[in-house]
Symmetry: C2
Subunit: 446 residues, 2 copies
């Protein structure tokens, strides 16, 4: 006999077993339903792209994370695995936008790959779930992005979460006011680390990386850390600009105020959206509103849905200017959070079916499949045990998997034309005529 190969996954890659996969499918279904309810339409792009499409101009840190794929039968690495869904969408947009027309609202869901050092909850393959509106600079789309995130997490059965928003225009205006506009890049890069490394270390880094004084750095942080009710924070920022008005900041404030007002009109609960001037995100890409979503009961896990407005999505591929706004749900991080929070969707159940038909007698398979077919037509998921094993073994199987009901019939029941419907949790059993099985099963399942 040939040597056995040890079955294993590669470092940084994971399998999804049924219990977690059932939750992941529910998360993806929910995201799909919410995105669709706003008119976002699905697209898909291949896992593999040309290296020139995929990579930056060389030397970018992210380029090192791209998995190279050898050409078919060849040995040249001319393609790679996508490391996010944004670069493929940029390429896609440049290619088809004239055919599709604007505004164009799309969602995309799928795995991405990064050759990073794997760690707890950090994988080399993970799922993203993005939605974007491109081809319009309208604040209506920025506002809608926040509404989608609110609906998404509500539909995901979270009620304590916070969407933190800011606007890069406002941040840039503040830096202009303080005479630090030319140092925006290193300053914001440091500011982005605030939740991770704290105020003191951010000041240290700003002094070092942006060549500002500790006092200047402190001023930036004072502004960024302005806290209070949303209206108050915006009022205070506006007050900063009373003496020397700044167009960018004024537009940023106007957009944030409109966002809050429309969200209220659309029924978003008070306190759900929070202006947070320390939120700044990916430095060069985002240019307007920015979003991060935190689970109140698990803030340490970081943002589970982030995004923002960008001036020009596809500039690497086309001269056509494509402004847009969108956000991305980090599916694996969310599922890690759900596991930690004992989210009700992680039931421990490993079957999507509700009912098991017990197999008493292999010769009765036609009857078992007949009753199963009737129940399936009525929308009930139902499995027929494939072998006439001992009934105890079949009930043990049903309990391990998490079936809610068993439907059984032995010779006596067949003679009378009845079935037994057993609630496995309550261990209650009822005997009903075949014509009443659907109603009985539906009643027990509620």
């Amino acid at each position: 006999m040939a040597d056995l190969i040890t079955p294993r996954t590669l470092s940084g890659f994971r399998d999804y077993l049924p219990d977690v996969m059932l939750a992941r499918e529910k998360v993806l279904d929910t995201a799909r339903r919410v995105y669709r309810s706003y008119g976002f339409t699905p697209i898909d792009t291949p896992a593999c792209e040309s290296l020139d499409v995929l990579l930056g101009k060389g030397g970018d840190e992210s380029d090192k994370l791209v998995y190279r794929v050898l050409s078919a039968r060849g040995d040249k690495a001319e393609m790679g695995l996508r490391f996010d869904l944004t670069v493929p969408f940029a390429r896609f947009s440049a290619q088809y936008i004239n055919q599709l027309g604007t505004p164009f609202k799309r969602y995309a869901m799928g795995p991405v790959w990064r050759g990073e050092r794997p760690g707890q909850g950090r994988y080399r393959e993970f799922w993203q779930c993005d939605f974007d509106t491109i081809g319009t600079t309208s604040n209506a789309s920025d506002i809608e992005t926040a509404l989608v995130v609110n609906d998404l997490f509500t539909a995901l059965n979270f009620d304590t979460f916070e969407i933190r928003i800011n606007n890069r225009l406002l941040l840039n205006g503040l830096l202009e006011l303080k005479g630090l506009a030319d140092k925006a890049v290193p300053l914001l890069r440091s500011l982005d680390k605030l939740p991770k490394i704290g105020r003191e270390k951010v000041i240290e880094e700003m002094v070092k990386e942006a060549a500002v004084t500790a006092e200047q750095a402190g001023t930036v942080l004072d502004l960024a850390e302005t806290t209070g009710p949303n209206a108050e924070v915006l009022d205070r920022v506006e007050a900063f600009f009373a003496a020397s008005p700044n167009d960018k900041a004024a537009e940023g404030i106007r957009r944030l105020r409109e966002l809050l007002a429309v969200a209220k009109a659309a029924g978003v609960p008070d306190g759900r959206i929070k202006i947070d001037l320390s939120i700044c995100r990916g430095l060069d890409y985002y240019t307007g509103t920015i979003y991060e979503t935190f689970l109140t009961d698990l803030p340490g896990i970081g943002s589970v849905c982030s995004g923002g407005r960008y001036d020009n999505l596809a500039s690497k591929y086309t001269k056509q200017v494509l402004p847009g706004v969108g956000a991305s749900l980090g599916v694996d991080r969310l599922i890690a959070a759900m596991e930690e929070l004992k989210h009700p969707w992680l039931t421990g159940q490993t079957t999507p079916a509700q009912v098991l038909v017990v197999n008493f007698d292999a010769a009765r398979l036609g009857d078992y499949q007949r009753i199963a077919s009737v129940l399936r037509s009525a929308g009930v998921s139902i499995e027929v045990y494939p072998e006439a094993k001992k009934v105890g073994q079949q009930f043990a199987y049903a309990e391990k998997r998490g079936f809610k009901l068993a439907v059984t019939a032995g010779p006596a029941e067949f003679e009378q034309g009845v079935w037994k419907v057993k609630d496995l949790a309550k261990r209650e059993e009822a005997t009903v005529p075949e014509a009443e099985v659907v109603a009985k099963v539906k009643a027990v399942l509620q």
Copy 2:
């Protein structure tokens, strides 16, 4: 300005644009729903596997098709992209079956990659959608496989299709009867080509590859080409064995007869399942029942859902014997068929939303999002146009995308607290109070 990179997909890879993607999502949702209704549970495995897990013992034709992936930051090809969902499932089963228990019924959906020469409708990345029952040799699972395929294509809105089945036990028994058992491999490999190359060429190939006489080859084909009603075909095969009974063939016939009887009891329409003795499929892998599914209106496209029973799924990775049975839906081939058949799911629509809220006045965004929110809560997908462009432009957008309804309100309507609900196809418009918008929209959408 930097040089632009031409946006393009790699040869053999494709993008899914909204119209086709909407249909693909419907296909995948349907498969998921049907698989689940029988108790198949989802799992997922990574795109990348170790090369030793992925490849055969070397020299296999399929090994040449595997895309090698370079290790992160390295230059060693130690992993590859999966070329089907069966090899990863075999590895997965060996790894977790003791934890999961048997019987284990799983489905898996996702892309697979093959470095083949691309052709019309043949891509290097394509989606598969598999379901399997492992850990049991029971014919109940073989039968259920046919029931699932029947329910699947019915749910996919096909009513003229045929599930052709056979059993390798029966084929092997026939070859034993004719003294050709030792030539089964080359004979069945040639027989598999019958629909593509025709009888004469199959005989030629059998003579050449299996070193049989043209007469012997002709006899094999006579048997394989036995046609007629299912019962008659099985009766005739049984008659062949009257003089020299063969255990394998008897078991094959018994299993096929039971399949037909149970399928009838479960409500499968007459003529849907057809015994076809020429169906033989992947030579070494399958050992029992085999399945191919043909669309009656488009037989030329070949089988769109195929599978069979196998003796031992995971023998490369474990000594534990894991018999199983399952089938795989070829999603891209099915969608190609749907395009050719003008399947009703390919509507030309490019939005999943039904209703567009026309944007008359950007300052009214709160009202637009309020009415949208009310409709969304009632299960209606609804998009708010993001800019206060000319109404004609917004209606043109709605028609191009395929929205069914528009909801509009100008200053006069806001004054009266009413909305206009316009059927875009019929060009009929009704004016209703805000409290009646949901009922009106639902009525127009039926």
